[in-house]
């Protein structure tokens, strides 16, 4: 005998603390930098832990194309194991993080057992006859199987694997997209499933579905963006290499054809050397891109970083006879970000500013608090500036206003700022100059003595 339910979370009593606690724990875990696998484990944990829904075991299927595949099975293998696990989990003061850690360890231990048993379970979602468990996912319906042994709709091999008379199938989906299914049972305690359990499990399923959907979508987007950026970069590199290679090839051929002209030989070798240097420059300029990974930002004092960067560009300023003016507010709070990348970004801005500014001009760097919990670092020049039309494209990769510009500098700066949760703004007036403002999140109350 089976019973089906409309998939909805609407008939919940909103003030029930158990539901709220469950909801908040699951949704909080989604904001953690956990992997999708870890977050699914959080949901399975919520479904099986005593303080959550309290099922004995939770079995997770994920979809791959039109197939439903067994992936994870969380729970004790035997009553003995159950006792020892539940003893650990009922230790006073144990929190969700500990339970998840424990479950992760459990999964690793039993990698040869429970989860392995369900890996061979694969069901087509688009082919009749649809059996349980596949039918729950395919029809996006919660199915409560009460007497599995006598129920003809239950797939025989599935019944053999889970070996229990009563279980619950919760589909995981978002909109039209079927993403998987969770099968829950009380194989150890034989406690009958109640309506209350079904409501809670459905709610977890709803959240899990949306979570998987959002994560896979986000990953797809990131991949696509990365592919597009990579393609663009490959194209660009190809072009950047062609001019120097044409020169190297041409002047080498001259050497081969007239090896006895000493003056020309010397000149050609010098040209070739310079062009090789240009090739190296292309690689050098691209290298920060390739290794830029979005590490977790730390908080740090920006003053020494700014000073180090100033040191590195001071020679360029002297050479161009451009005065670099510095004005930093006292006792700035620490900012969030990666000091190496932020230093590199600042150096890019300063070099651009120096490039754009004529002899006798001025470049100013200022740092100060802006809104609460924000620090702004600005780089201003009295250079040639640019019109509004350029502003739109300014941060695009490979866009440059310089004759031999690579168009990577500002793109890089923008990516660094995004990576640390900050932002960049620019104002410019042709003939008067340009000001870039970097906004960093700051940690007030710290770094006063730094």
């Amino acid at each position: 005998m089976i019973q089906t339910f409309q998939f909805s979370a609407s008939d919940f009593q909103k003030d029930e603390p158990r539901e709220l606690a469950l909801l908040s724990i699951i949704s909080q875990s989604f904001f953690q930098p956990f992997s999708i696998e870890d977050n699914l484990l959080v949901i399975l944990t919520a479904l099986t832990s005593g303080s959550g829904v309290g099922f004995n075991r939770a079995l997770l299927f994920r979809t791959a194309g039109e197939m439903l595949k067994g992936e994870l099975w969380l729970g004790p293998k035997s009553p003995q194991e159950a006792n020892s696990i539940w003893e650990v989990l009922s230790t006073p003061g144990i929190g969700y993080i500990e339970i998840i850690e424990h479950n992760r360890a459990l999964l690793r231990q039993q990698s040869d057992s429970l989860s392995e048993r369900i890996k061979p379970l694969v069901y087509a979602l688009d082919r009749e006859p649809l059996m349980i468990p596949a039918v729950a996912a395919a029809k996006r319906e919660v199915i409560w199987v009460k007497e599995a042994w006598s129920e003809p709709l239950v797939d025989k091999s599935f019944r053999d694997v889970i070996n229990v008379n009563e279980f619950l199938c919760i589909p995981l989906f978002s909109g039209d997209e079927i993403l998987g299914e969770v099968v829950l049972d009380n194989a150890i305690t034989r406690r009958p499933i109640e309506h209350k359990d079904i409501q809670l499990a459905s709610l977890c399923g709803l959240m899990a579905g949306n979570y998987i959907y959002a994560t896979t979508l986000h990953k797809k987007l990131v991949d696509m963006e990365r592919m597009a950026a990579l393609g663009e970069m490959a194209m660009f590199v190809m072009h950047q290499l062609r001019n120097p290679l044409a020169a190297i090839g041409g002047f080498t051929d001259q050497l081969l054809h007239s090896p006895n002209d000493e003056v020309r030989t010397r000149r050609n070798l010098e040209i070739i050397r310079t062009e090789i240097q240009r090739l190296e420059e292309v690689l050098f300029k691209l290298s920060p891109f390739l290794k830029m990974d979005l590490r977790k930002p730390i908080t740090f004092d920006m003053v020494p970083v700014v000073q180090a960067v100033l040191q590195s560009v001071s020679l360029m300023g002297n050479r161009k006879n451009v005065h670099i003016e510095v004005g930093m507010e006292d006792s700035l709070p620490e900012i969030y970000g990666d000091p190496t990348y932020i230093g590199e970004a600042l150096r890019n801005l300063l070099e651009n500013a120096l490039d754009a500014t004529k002899k006798g001009g001025r470049v100013s760097i200022r740092a100060g608090r802006s809104e609460p919990n924000w620090v702004v670092l600005s780089v201003e020049d009295t250079g040639r500036g640019f019109p509004e039309s350029v502003k739109e494209k300014l941060f695009d990769p490979f866009f440059s206003t310089k004759d031999r510009g690579m168009g990577v500098g500002l793109f890089y700066v923008k990516r660094v700022m995004e990576a640390c949760g900050g932002r960049i703004e620019v104002e410019s007036e042709p003939g008067r100059g340009t000001i870039f403002r970097l906004f960093f999140r700051s940690r007030e109350g710290k770094g006063e003595n730094a």
Binding site: R242, L245, A246, A247, G249, D253, Q254, I271, T274, D403
Partner: protein
């Protein structure tokens, strides 16, 4: 002696083209950008124009458009590091498209073909 106009912003490549094409028996003039090229075209007659596309200021596509407006019946070779400009239909107005490489053979043979046509 056939007169060639080379429009190219890379000084090193200008030097190379001038030397190599002079050796082939051509009278070679160099312009470093579109403006300079147009100025020369207004003053002198050329038998062939070889132009880069990506240059500071107005690019090679704009140069080709201008030349077509002048109704000068002079063959044009595009010589660029970029394959992708072939997609720009204005570049179809040119008589040949050469992608820069480490050898000048293709450029030289295209010049010969167009001048003998």
């Amino acid at each position: 002696m056939k007169k060639l106009l080379i429009v190219e912003d890379e000084e090193t490549l200008c030097l190379l083209y001038k030397e190599e094409l002079s050796k082939e028996g051509y009278d070679v003039t160099v312009a470093y950008d579109t403006e300079q090229a147009l100025e020369l075209l207004g003053r002198e007659q050329f038998d062939l124009i070889i132009t880069d596309i990506r240059m500071p200021g107005r690019d090679g596509v704009e140069l080709i458009t201008e030349i077509m407006g002048l109704r000068k019946d002079v063959p044009i070779i595009i010589n660029t590091a970029y394959q992708s400009y072939r997609d720009d239909f204005m570049t179809w107005a040119a008589d040949a498209y050469v992608v820069k490489s480490s050898s000048l053979d293709e450029l030289k043979s295209k010049i010969k073909d167009l001048l003998n046509r």
